[in-house]
């Protein structure tokens, strides 16, 4: 048995005026590298009021994004050996979004920015009797973009999004904006670019690259934003 101290962000809207950190002691089984989500399940056995989101527990649904010892990540695919230092683990909700309770945040702003980029194919040509076909090369352009699970780890680690969540689309939304701009079947390129052509939506990105650093799926919003910027520039000249 090894001991782990977990410092957990607690906030109950019905009884707490302010959030607080609560410490828990946990005995960990020897010879096993638990995931952070397993630790939360063990804590919930001690205190059933602990609240967090989870669903698939294997990094596919994107529900359990949280700030794990200072770095955003998915609790279900982050092992203790990656994040625990001096037998201490700190769990806080995703930064910058309103906290509903404990580790559960209100993602409305994040979804609003996602909705803004029209995350669906726009093609007004008559629907063919088979699928809209793509060459393997065109399809390959969507790799590294379509895999996003909207866990919000990137956008909530982005200082530009912290200070301007209403105006800056944020890394997650912009990765998806590029995903549809890059799609050979999409016909709304100009319309999409026109909606992004202002000082905030895209250009608030300062290349800090926190998004790239935290993405649990290894995606690269910074690069996608660079592509959108180049497109906006070309269109302007």
């Amino acid at each position: 048995m090894s001991q782990l101290t977990v410092s957990l962000y607690r906030y109950n809207p019905e009884s707490d005026q302010k959030p607080r950190m609560q410490e828990f002691q946990l005995d960990l089984p020897e010879g096993k590298d638990l995931m952070v989500l397993d630790v939360l399940a063990l804590l919930k056995e001690q205190d059933t009021s602990i609240t967090y989101r989870r669903s698939c527990r294997e990094g596919v649904c994107g529900s359990d994004g949280m700030n794990i010892s200072g770095k955003n990540g998915l609790a279900c695919i982050t092992s203790l050996s990656q994040v625990v230092k001096n037998n201490k683990l700190v769990l806080r909700p995703l930064p910058g979004l309103p906290v509903i309770r404990d580790l559960v945040v209100d993602m409305s702003l994040f979804y609003k920015q996602y909705e803004r980029i029209q995350p669906y194919l726009i093609n007004n040509s008559p629907v063919p009797s088979i699928e809209r076909l793509q060459s393997p090369e065109d399809r390959a352009k969507l790799d590294g973009l379509y895999e996003c699970i909207l866990c919000a780890c990137c956008s909530t680690s982005c200082p530009s999004f912290w200070w301007n969540p209403e105006k800056f689309v944020g890394p997650a939304g912009l990765l998806q904006a590029w995903r549809f701009l890059a799609d050979s079947r999409d016909q709304a390129t100009e319309e999409r670019l026109a909606k992004l052509d202002d000082p905030f939506s895209v250009f608030r990105c300062r290349g800090i690259m926190n998004c790239v650093n935290v993405c649990p799926k290894g995606l690269n919003p910074t690069k996608a934003i660079g592509h959108i910027r180049s497109m906006l520039l070309k269109q302007a000249t």
């Binding site: 302010k18 309103p98 300062r206 290349g207 690069k223």
Partner: protein
């Protein structure tokens, strides 16, 4: 429903990767440069006002530590700001945009920035 919800935004609890450190230093060095330039222009104006003023400034540089220190600080900020700016230009060309190359680019900027600061110090003292 509660409307005034708290927000987890305690910067001391958030770990910044090296790319973020390089970025915030770019901004800080820009502010230092802005303030430092005002100081340098004032010193230039004084030195150009008369032979007496020139004498005064050259005396301040050689005898007052903080005077020299401000000049050094401005030069160091200029050095780093320039290097980080060039890195931004390279990133606009698509270089150093991956997780690994981004970290490498930040490391290089920081090391070159420190070297330039040392060189400025050697030149001044």
């Amino acid at each position: 429903m509660k409307t005034n919800r708290p927000v987890n935004m305690d910067l001391t609890t958030i770990r910044l990767p090296i790319t973020a450190i390089a970025s915030i230093l770019h901004r800080i060095s820009g502010i230092v440069l802005f303030v430092g330039t005002a100081f340098l222009i004032w010193a230039l104006g004084l030195s150009l006002s008369s032979a007496q003023g020139f004498e005064q400034v050259s005396q301040l540089i050689s005898s007052v530590f903080w005077f020299k220190f401000i000049i050094w600080g401005t030069l160091a900020a200029l050095g780093y700001h320039l290097v980080a700016g060039v890195r931004h230009l390279l990133m606009d060309l698509g270089l150093g945009e991956t997780k690994e190359s981004g970290a490498l680019g930040s490391q290089i900027s920081l090391v070159v920035g420190v070297l330039l600061a040392i060189l400025a110090g050697v030149w001044l003292w």
